[in-house]
């Protein structure tokens, strides 16, 4: 067979698709990223904030989108759909239809003149119809690509040629093309990733929610837009009926989830509890009155993720009300208010009035995605999500096609991002022989040495059509620039970013022997990379460049003051010129990569990571403190899908042991670590030194054993009291004694969600219920009681909970105020607990009591985290670089984490995270060197007093004290150029290259000159 294709198709431009595309493109594969709408960003771009960090969604997402949009090895196909996929792994032919945009993306400068003049208003789908947009529109303000598109259904001209056509008349760059037609194309790729996400459940069919009848009943997605600063009410949180600010908001949970009656969705949507809490918290922040009362009506509060339980606790402290009740029907009240009537646990009926009701709608698969999967012969599960197996969580039934994100199960953003990397690992790993075969590489001429030259500055002033020129007198600014010291060339352009102007700029740099360039146009956030590349093409260092933002921050915001805007433009140009004068060429830093990985911990996570890398040809050193492989999973009977762990584990161990690329170090721990990404040196306890480019930490966790204290429940005192894993041991051994039991009981949350361990252990509800079902398999007549606080069988696991109830397993809820009492009556276990529904105490006599005890971090994780300079959470789990978007990276580059040391998780998520860690590691290992920040800090040892303040403020541990000299030293490979150390230095001994105090002050002083 031929060598496989070195390219991958990613379908879906949401966060998971974008992440998968970036991982692949950065590890040697060419990516075609197909997106149905006119811009990438997906559902995440519609969110206001994200839990549990309350990050602004657009802020953390945009950089990734911009990166994907500009990536040389990502071919972005917007307004496109997959029609058909033929062939198998390594060689697939994909037919794609690209729908017309009617706007030439090469020419569109996103000035918005077209939309301003367009007479046709239609409901804006990005705001879920709460606001309007024009027929020519940007999907959202930060859209990537930042190009307008015409909605052919709404456009007057396209429906009645000869009418309207205003956009074409006013477009300053001639970008409108009414003759655009759909195109079909065939791409050849090696593998495919489907990242098609979900759609929010439409509650219209649930008449009792009042969604169709009452304006002030909105879905959670609509409420996200009402909160968003870029939404229809610009973040002022107005309720739809009268635009007033709601003072009392209620959230109704499980709308379209956990409902086999009306919604036909038996699964839990996993994210709604958390997003409802987040919305309640954020709404409180938005409230101008400060008196907002937020109430969440729920069945089980499912805050099962990292940091979620603490978020829930904090929300309660902040006064968010949590009502364990469900409302049958939303009732109308005066002034468009709403009344919720609910029965509390005591059975009392209570009526409460609200100004706004938010329906926490679940996630479901879009029918179009279902159709596509049918066409592609990809197996779906009973809920129409793509079917996957616990041991290959991102592989579909079709070889060579992978999935990530909510297409396979409702899940949150971190889990989706994790899976995106895992899918990239799968899709790229199978094509590893073809790495770098289809990628493009930009070649630049050698750079001219400009050190000895006096500044010869060129200034390019952009009119941006009329966007700048209609307010700012660009000619005056150009003339002014020409006279500034050091400036030898100044020119005004209609569109500085147009391809011909760019080419001409490169010529000018060469012809005029310019050694510094200023472009006065739009924002550097979108255009700096383009112009910097032009400098490189013209043979000068890209850091000899500045931009003056005379559009976004001048002409667009001072439309009423053209004279002052012109003065300001001159100032901005003068500031840029003053700054660029001091700019020096900076090195394009690179760190050479030692092509080897160190994996610490040989449980399932460590072994999967190691194998994923080894099978792509990368040598791995796998270190395990015990003498055997397998870790925690050895004690584990089966996954909740019913797959026996032992079979999988034995196979996995065999593969690890027989892989020639894996160097096993058993009975070994880590003694010391030095270096940084690309060039770590680690000393093992057996005295060996390992040089490696990356490290994956997968050291697992432990099961909490309540030998004493409040959660003891006779553990260690009565032989019939077990932890979950101890019962698993009896299952593994086929213990006959279990069959004869008449009654068994489980107590959930033993040592989890309690003051000393305030997090949820995520896995125990599902594990305990699966065990109860196993007991029922052994003896269907056994009476089984589950004493629980909230059942957290998120996602598809909800089916298991339902099955348990179907089989007659009885669930009794308790809370911290009403703990179950357990005592020993002459060797027999007795439990008493209050059933809050009937208000009576029930007494149980189980012959087996199982404690679903917490998963706790290992005590020695702290030492390891210090060695790798990684942070830990308060609870003692390892802390990733960013909870939302970098779930497998540490803040320290080149170090990744996977498995239980990150947070308790079931085996399928452990495997996904392990594969994700391998993908991230492969991004480094697949290259000979990795780029490092050029704008880095620099210490002047003459001035350094050795106070070490800089080392404390550096979040990246890039500044360390030199033991010999007692002075601070910056590791340029690790420095991110934030400048925190510069600001903190008391003796002015640290500076940031091209952003030193002198340079910033040069700009400030220049600003003051004419004022």
């Amino acid at each position: 067979m031929d060598r496989p294709k070195g390219s991958v198709l990613v379908v879906g431009g949401g966060i998971s698709g974008v992440q998968a595309a970036l991982d692949l493109a950065d590890s040697g594969f060419f990516v075609h990223l197909v997106e149905k709408s006119s811009a990438i960003g997906g559902s995440m771009s519609q969110l206001d904030k994200t839990f549990p960090t309350n990050d602004c969604s657009a802020c953390i997402l945009s950089p990734k989108l911009v990166e994907a949009g500009r990536h040389l090895n990502i071919n972005l196909l917007t307004l496109s759909e997959v029609l058909d996929i033929q062939g198998g792994p390594g060689h697939m032919k994909v037919r794609i239809r690209k729908n017309p945009r009617y706007v030439d993306t090469e020419k569109c400068i996103a000035c918005g003149t077209c939309a301003e003049k367009c007479p046709k208003k239609v409901p804006n789908e990005f705001d879920l119809g709460l606001g309007t947009r024009k027929a020519i529109y940007l999907r959202y303000p930060q859209a990537v690509p930042l190009k307008y598109a015409i909605d052919p259904e709404a456009c007057i001209y396209l429906n009645k040629p000869g009418r309207c056509g205003f956009c074409k008349k006013v477009c300053p760059s001639g970008a409108i093309n009414f003759d655009d037609r759909p195109e079909e194309m065939t791409l050849e790729v090696g593998s495919v990733i489907l990242a098609l996400g979900f759609r929010p459940y439409d509650p219209s069919a649930l008449d009792f929610t009042g969604y169709k009848n009452f304006k002030n009943v909105v879905t959670s997605m609509e409420f996200e837009r009402l909160l968003s600063p870029s939404g229809p009410c610009m973040g002022h949180m107005e309720r739809p009926s009268d635009k007033s600010e709601p003072q009392r908001i209620a959230w109704l949970q499980c709308v379209g989830s956990r409902d086999i009656n009306r919604a036909c969705h038996g699964y839990c949507s996993s994210v709604c509890c958390m997003y409802a809490i987040k919305q309640a918290v954020i709404a409180k922040e938005h409230s101008k009155s400060g008196n907002l009362q937020s109430s969440i009506f729920f069945m089980d509060m499912r805050t099962h993720g990292k940091g979620f339980e603490a978020y829930y606790d904090r929300a309660r402290e902040e006064g968010i009300r949590f009502k364990r009740a469900r409302v049958h029907t939303v009732l109308p009240a005066k002034d468009d208010n709403l009344v919720l009537r609910y029965s509390n646990e005591a059975g009392e009926l209570i009526d409460e009035e609200f100004d706004l009701v938010v329906l926490s709608v679940g996630l479901e698969t879009d029918p179009e995605v279902i159709r596509l999967c049918h066409d592609l012969d990809i197996e779906l599960d009973q809920d129409n999500f793509v079917a996957t197996s616990p041991f290959s969580p991102v592989a579909t039934s079709k070889p060579g096609i992978f999935v990530c994100g909510a297409i396979s199960e409702p899940k949150d953003i971190p889990q989706s991002v994790m899976e995106a990397s895992a899918a990239a690992c799968g899709a790229g790993g199978m094509l590893h022989e073809a790495r770098w075969t289809q990628t493009k590489k930009k070649e630049f001429p050698p750079e001219r040495n400009v050190y000895s030259e006096p500044p010869r500055i060129g200034v390019f002033v952009c009119s941006c059509g009329i966007n700048i020129a209609s307010v700012v007198d660009v000619n005056e600014v150009t003339e002014y620039a020409r006279k500034l010291p050091g400036v030898v060339f100044a020119q005004n352009n209609l569109f500085t970013c147009s391809q011909d102007t760019i080419n001409q700029m490169a010529e000018t740099i060469k012809k005029e022997r310019l050694n510094r360039v200023v472009v006065a146009s739009c924002t550097p956030r979108t255009h700096e990379p383009l112009f910097q590349e032009t400098l490189r093409e013209a043979g000068i260092n890209k850091f000899l460049f500045e931009m003056a933002n005379i559009r976004d921050q001048d002409s667009w915001v001072h439309q009423k003051w053209p004279e002052k805007a012109t003065e300001k433009a001159k100032d901005l140009v003068r500031m840029a010129v003053a700054k660029v004068r001091g700019d020096e060429p900076l090195p394009y830093n690179h760190v050479p990569v030692t092509k080897k990985a160190l994996v610490i911990g040989a449980g399932v996570a460590g072994m999967v990571s190691a194998l994923s890398l080894a099978e792509q040809g990368f040598p791995v050193c796998l270190v395990e403190r015990k003498e055997i492989l397998g870790g925690h999973a050895r004690k584990f009977y089966r996954t909740w899908h019913g797959r026996v762990m032992k079979e999988y584990l034995e196979e996995l161990i065999k593969r690890v042991e027989s892989n020639p690329n894996i160097d096993l170090e058993l009975g070994t721990t880590i003694e010391d670590v030095s270096g940084s990404v690309g060039r770590f040196k680690t000393t093992l306890s057996n005295g060996k030194n390992v040089e490696h480019g990356v490290a994956i930490v997968a050291v697992g966790a432990e099961s909490f054993k309540p030998r004493s204290g409040p959660w003891n429940y006779l553990y260690g005192k009565n032989p019939n009291v077990h932890t979950l894993l101890e019962l698993d041991q009896r299952f593994i051994k086929d213990d006959e004694g279990l069959k004869g039991l008449k009654q068994a009981a489980f107590i959930h949350c033993v040592g989890s969600r309690v003051p000393e361990r305030p997090y949820c252990s995520r896995v125990c509800c599902t594990h305990a219920i699966d065990q109860a079902l196993k007991l029922k398999e052994l003896n269907p007549d056994m009476d089984i009681f589950m004493l629980y606080r909230d059942i957290r069988t998120y996602g598809k696991r909800e089916h298991l909970y339902q099955e348990a109830r179907e089989k007659g397993i009885v669930f009794i809820r308790y809370d911290l105020e009403h703990l179950p009492e357990v005592w020993d009556d002459d060797g027999k276990i007795v439990i008493e607990v209050e059933d809050q529904i009937i208000g009576k105490r029930v007494r149980l006599h189980p012959e087996l009591l199982v404690l679903a005890s917490a998963v706790r971090p290992r005590d020695d994780v702290g030492e390891l985290s210090k060695l790798f300079k990684c942070a830990m959470t308060e609870e003692g789990f390892l802390l990733e670089a960013h909870m939302k978007l970098r779930p497998v990276d540490f803040a320290t580059d080149g170090v990744y984490l996977a498995g239980l040391c990150h947070y308790p998780k079931p085996v399928e998520e452990t495997i996904a995270q392990a594969q994700a860690a391998a993908s991230r590691a492969a991004m480094v290992l697949s290259r000979d060197s990795v780029p490092a920040e050029s704008i880095t800090a620099e210490v002047n040892p003459m001035k350094c007093t050795g106070c070490a303040v800089c080392t404390k403020v550096c979040a990246y541990h890039a500044v360390v004290m030199d033991g010999k000299t007692g002075k601070a030293v910056v590791d340029t490979g690790m420095c991110k150029g934030c400048g925190a150390c510069v600001a903190a230095c008391r003796s002015d001994a640290i500076t940031l290259k091209n952003l030193g105090n002198e340079q910033i002050m040069a700009a400030v002083e220049a600003a003051m000159e004419s004022w």
């Binding site: 009792f208 009656n261 009476d783 009681f785 089989k807 009576k840 007494r843």
Partner: protein
């Protein structure tokens, strides 16, 4: 305050099992105890119960309380709880079964009597001949007093009529003039219809006593009558 203790050394839950035997899709165990039913049930609080508590008593095998409570006669088996219940549990159906478990002599007398009468012909127990006489008498009165309705019809046992019309027993018994508007409407529309002189009552209280055989018997009788007349449609006025 010590609460009552329920010992669950083994759950007997006989009533629950009996219901599950009769109604395989009763789904009692599916209950999430979310309380949505109780929030929307007009009978919540009556006799200290609500649909959720009621199901919970069944699950925990509190059979004595289940069999004793008169809440089963406040629950109208209206199925509004089932309508929105996430699990679609039909409390009304379960209540029906429990009503049937009560010995006939322990049931509300009038309710049982209505069904017993229904089994003879109609729920008020007026003789069929009286019904026929009342219809004819009222029709005659209208024809005489209202000249524009002199050709109004109220056929009984008209074989081959396209439509069969039932009659709630309340009207011929206590307010016979209430029958007339419908006759007029059908007349104006040119509907070819007929009553039956047997099993003409449109209500059916045997639906509520809990004995399926009674219910079946009465419906079967109605169906036989309609088919014997050869009507294409059976118009129900309830």
């Amino acid at each position: 305050m010590q609460k009552e203790i329920v010992d669950l050394s083994s759950i007997r839950a006989r009533v629950k099992k009996q219901i599950e035997g009769a109604v395989p899709d009763a789904k009692i165990d599916y209950c999430l105890t979310c309380g949505l039913c109780a929030s929307g049930c007009p009978a919540t609080g009556i006799e200290g119960l609500d649909p959720r508590k009621f199901l919970r008593l069944l699950v925990l095998g509190q059979d004595d309380e289940i069999l004793k409570t008169n809440w089963i006669y406040s629950c109208t088996m209206c199925q509004r709880c089932k309508y929105a219940c996430p699990m679609g549990i039909d409390v009304g159906r379960i209540v029906y079964e429990i009503r049937g478990m009560r010995p006939k002599d322990k049931r509300p007398k009038n309710l049982q009597r209505s069904c017993d009468l229904q089994k003879q012909s109609n729920s008020t127990g007026i003789p069929n001949e009286d019904f026929v006489w009342v219809v004819k008498d009222v029709l005659e009165e209208v024809r005489q007093n209202e000249p524009q309705w002199r050709d109004l019809k109220a056929p009984i046992d008209k074989k081959g009529a396209r439509y069969y019309l039932n009659q709630n027993a309340k009207e011929p018994t206590v307010e016979p003039e209430e029958m007339v508007p419908l006759w007029k409407i059908l007349h104006v529309a040119g509907i070819d219809w007929t009553y039956s002189s047997k099993w003409w009552d449109g209500a059916n209280y045997c639906l509520f006593t809990g004995d399926p055989e009674d219910w079946e018997y009465t419906v079967r009788k109605q169906a036989e009558v309609v088919d014997a007349l050869g009507c294409r449609y059976y118009i129900n006025t309830e």
